[in-house]
């Protein structure tokens, strides 16, 4: 460790410790009579108002990895990386009505996970198990990637080795165990405030030092014009426009299928909190758009990514930390690094809670202990949340970080395959439970096959090199590409529909629907909602 980063390190560690303290104190915040149930530990009492939900869901969706990876993508590929902006603009009107329905039916029936809903709606523990496992598999690499975010910052401070990451995650695991969802909810206030301060400072201060926005874009255009790669540039070209559209739209469809996104939504106290947040959360999208442009600022500032000693290649994930280091005074760089580091803790906590809840509700209670009490459920979830974090740390210690990035890419395609059961299920009971399972399996297989075929010439990988599937593989005479997730989802839907018709014709028994139409519109104060909420669901 060199001495030149001492100030940064002191500020970083101090802020990290403050936040860790808050994580432990959070158990006493809005203190429940008894935290030993999933409604309390796993969903913070299901009583968060508009502001807390805004910080919590914002802190959850816009992760440290996003802050590091999106500008890294813009740095490397230009306009295509900006897809993150339309993605997070489109998502809120898209889910405006869907999430309100999910909230209502979940509060009437005491659902904690999306798989709980699927089980009741389609009367199928098997389909629920499939949805739960899909959710856990898609979430695990996402947690590991939060560690990649912290590591990028540590590398920029000249710290190598895995010990700091292990310590950070041990602290995180301890306060999540104790405080449940209350911990990330409280920490999110600090995380988001720091991020807003850092980014607003960055977009005012850095362009001023680099000669204005015009010269930043000029520098980027100049860089991309010199590279041989055909897909980059500060504008889209004929071949990647469809990719841009389908990637933005497909990612928007996937976002709220992730169990951790729904955790934040289900923790809110009524439907209006959700709807108001659909108008308020785009404030983070604005921030994300500006963060993406840090990639161009890094180009204009002549940032060289830190070389990974194992591969001998530059790690683009380090461009934002290096940019901050070059531009800001040391103490503020420390604040910026802390913002990214703490930014990793909030989503990692919520994701591990969401994965733990899936295990508890849809595997433990369904198959291992049908008579589980609220306290037993909370106990199991707390323990599983620890296991999940150990798993994430092991992913980083034992595997190439590139593997986690690949898994995350796969995760988006995987979680999309739950859309027919979870999202369409909120609107229609038309699909047969067997049809949904058949669609899920075929969509998943198709998605894996496509991702396997995609190479990445930039780093010499032959498989799982990206999510842009060339239409030429289907025999079309074009260089255009589409987001593989959207194609896989289409396959899923077609198979689910056909299989439903076949199962109906063959008179294969379907599951019972335990929900009724009114459940999807119930709101706070409705007797159905109140009752179950206070007593806890059984």
């Amino acid at each position: 460790m060199s001495g030149q980063h001492t100030t940064e390190l002191v500020v970083f560690v101090a802020l990290f410790l403050v936040v860790s303290g808050m994580g432990f104190v959070a158990a006493k915040w809005r203190r429940p009579k008894d935290i030993e149930s999933l409604h309390e530990w796993g969903l913070g009492g299901r009583n968060f108002g508009t502001w807390i939900t805004w910080f919590l869901v914002g802190g959850d969706l816009y992760t440290a990895y996003t802050f590091v990876a999106v500008p890294a993508l813009v740095f490397g590929a230009g306009a295509l990386g900006f897809y993150a902006l339309p993605y997070t603009v489109v998502v809120y009107p898209l889910v405006f009505l869907v999430l309100a329905r999910m909230w209502s039916v979940s509060h009437v029936h005491g659902f904690v996970t999306p798989a709980d809903f699927v089980r009741a709606r389609f009367g199928s523990p098997t389909l629920a198990l499939v949805i739960a496992i899909t959710g856990i598999v898609a979430t695990m690499p996402y947690i590991a990637l939060q560690l990649v975010g912290i590591e990028a910052v540590l590398k920029a401070m000249g710290i190598t080795g895995h010990l700091p990451i292990i310590i950070a995650f041990a602290i995180l695991a301890a306060y999540t165990y104790q405080s449940g969802l209350r911990a990330p909810a409280l920490i999110a206030f600090v995380k988001d405030t720091l991020i807003y301060i850092v980014i607003l400072a960055a977009v005012i201060y850095i362009p001023a030092k680099l000669g204005g926005w015009g010269s930043i874009f000029d520098a980027a255009a100049e860089k991309f014009a010199k590279t041989p790669a055909p897909g980059d540039g500060i504008l889209l070209n004929a071949n990647n426009q469809l990719q841009y559209i389908t990637l933005a739209f497909g990612s928007a469809l996937a976002l709220f299928l992730y169990p951790h996104s729904l955790t934040g939504v289900l923790a809110s106290k009524n439907r209006n909190v959700i709807k108001r947040n659909m108008s308020a959360l785009p404030a983070y999208s604005f921030l994300l758009g500006l963060i993406a442009l840090l990639g161009f600022m890094a180009i204009a500032a002549g940032v060289k990514p830190i070389v990974n000693p194992e591969t001998g290649k530059g790690d683009n994930n380090t461009v934002v930390p290096v940019l901050f280091d070059q531009m800001f005074p040391d103490w503020f760089t420390g604040v910026a690094y802390a913002a990214i580091g703490i930014g990793a803790l909030v989503p990692a906590a919520i994701m591990s809670i969401a994965a733990a809840n899936l295990f508890t509700r849809n595997i433990y209670r369904e198959y291992l202990n049908k008579q589980a009490t609220d306290a037993q459920e909370a106990k199991v979830s707390k323990l599983v949340s620890l296991v999940v974090k150990v798993g994430a740390v092991l992913c980083i210690l034992l595997l190439d970080p590139q593997f986690s990035i690949d898994l995350q890419l796969i995760g988006g395609v995987v979680i999309l395959q739950t859309l027919p059961s979870v999202a369409l299920g909120l609107y229609t009971r038309w699909f047969h439970k067997g049809g949904l399972i058949a669609g899920w399996a075929t969509g998943l297989a198709a998605g894996m096959w496509m991702l396997y075929l995609i190479p990445n010439p930039a780093n010499g990988k032959l498989h799982f090199g990206g999510s842009a599937f060339p239409l030429a593989n289907f025999g079309f005479d074009t260089k255009a590409t589409l987001y593989a997730g959207v194609i896989a989802l289409t396959v899923n839907l077609v198979v689910a529909a056909l299989a439903t018709l076949i199962f109906r014709a063959a008179k294969v028994a379907d599951g019972e629907d335990a929900t009724s139409r009114g459940d999807y519109f119930a709101d706070e104060g409705d007797p159905k909602v109140k009752d179950l909420d206070l007593s806890g669901a059984h």
Partner: protein, 64 residues
């Protein structure tokens, strides 16, 4: 029962606008005109956030 038809308001169709417009690349895939040094591609897509917020806010207020 007011609860049973809450999704049926015609106002909800408005939500399609901020879903469709940000995905129409031909609207913004150009450098000119620039605004404060930002090419059209960047400033117009940032402006679509305002479109999204205005639409969801309007729909929320009209259907409350």
């Amino acid at each position: 029962m007011p609860g049973n038809d809450r999704d049926r308001s015609p106002w909800y169709w408005l939500l399609l606008v901020p879903i469709a417009v940000p995905l129409m690349t031909f609207l913004f895939n150009a450098a000119e005109p620039t605004l404060l040094g930002f090419p059209l591609f960047y400033w117009l897509q940032l402006a679509f956030i305002i479109l999204g917020v205005a639409t969801t806010t309007l729909v929320y207020r009209m259907t409350r």
